[in-house]
């Protein structure tokens, strides 16, 4: 399967100032989640990476790093929530 990581990095760079974090580092370490950004991230995963995001996938841990997003797209989500 294609490595989606470069595309995820490119997407994040459009939104996040001084984007230089490692693939396993927490995007939301500052603790704040902007709803529009998170929605755009969900739509990016669905429309650009072709992975439907189900309600149970909507857990911060699945979107909190480049690696986590890659795992979700590969069908191995880090967390499943109610």
């Amino acid at each position: 399967m294609d490595d989606v990581r470069p595309r995820v990095r490119e997407f994040l760079a459009r939104y996040i100032r001084g984007w230089e974090v490692a693939d396993d580092e927490d995007i939301f370490a500052a603790g704040h989640v902007n709803s529009l950004f998170i929605m755009q991230l969900v739509l990016f995963v669905e429309n650009e990476l072709g992975r439907e995001v189900r309600d149970e996938d909507l857990v911060l841990a699945n979107f909190s790093s480049v690696d986590a997003i890659a795992a979700l797209v590969a069908g191995r989500p880090e967390a499943v929530g109610g």
Partner: protein, 351 residues
Amino acid sequence: MTADPASPVRTLKCVVWDLDDTLWEGVLLEGGGARLRPGVTEVLRALDERGILHSVASRNDPDAALDALRRLGVADYFLHPQIGWGAKSTSVEAVAKALNIGLDAIAFVDDDAFEREEVGFRLPQVRCIDAAEAADLAGRPEFTPEVVTADARRRRLMYRAESQRQAVQERFDGPAEEFLATLDMRLVIAEAGPDDLRRAEELTVRTHQLNTTGRTYSMAELDAFRGSPDHRLYVMRLEDRFGPYGTIGLTLLEQDGADWTIRLLLMSCRVMSRGVGGVVITFLRRLARDAGARLLAEFVPNGRNRMMYVTYRFHGFSETARDGETRLLECDLSDVPPYPDHLRVDTPGGR
């Protein structure tokens, strides 16, 4: 504005003025324009204070006409003035588009019957008024809203701020988060007061996308929540370095003992990219945590409000039950984040 069934007259939102022999005396390019016509200053001010906007559709030299408006001390009243040599109907349409209001909410004032005919023919929804009647506009019912809210009084400033903001945003080249940081935003979360009810009602009716449950409430119902010991009704106001956005959000919290439920959380689409929804949720989480209460929330999907569900989910809420369309969520209050750096937050009790 919500149409009020009790009142047969629809309030207009904007007056588009001709200049020569309408706003001022004489023809500017023939040496006129030294004085406003009698009563015009009073009409400009009165309508402005009621939240009715002013603009211009004039055949004139743009620089000379804008200079004259400044000299006469009224330039600040006019948003998106259309001054040039095109058809007046084109100018009126341009104003409607720039202000994002319907043609049926616009009045056009001109001394020239030909111009009124031209606008009336091309744009039949526009109310055309002879300049001879201009001094009496403030007394007419279509320029007399039933209630003038604080937001209405600031409407001109809000429009001006928004157009400056958009111009800067279009030129900004960098990550979205960096742009937000340049805005110097201040969010006020406050218990709704009597003056907030009209706007609060309007928000429940008009907001669909950033709305968790889509419940609409009348002013009377909202006022009852204000007085209820089991409810908290909060409004959100936002401003930035360009000026106010006005009242942009509303949330209703029901407090049933130690079970607190967010019955409604909504935000105007104008602030969609500003990160306000998450901040309000953080405020409610702190409030509940400090009171030792559980924080629950309802969500009712309407096909357009998925962003609010996602927002809840990414702010510590997980789904616990479904009741028909309604989903019930409960929040984990063990790890409530601080407020973000990109805006200042002013909350009741400083929470």
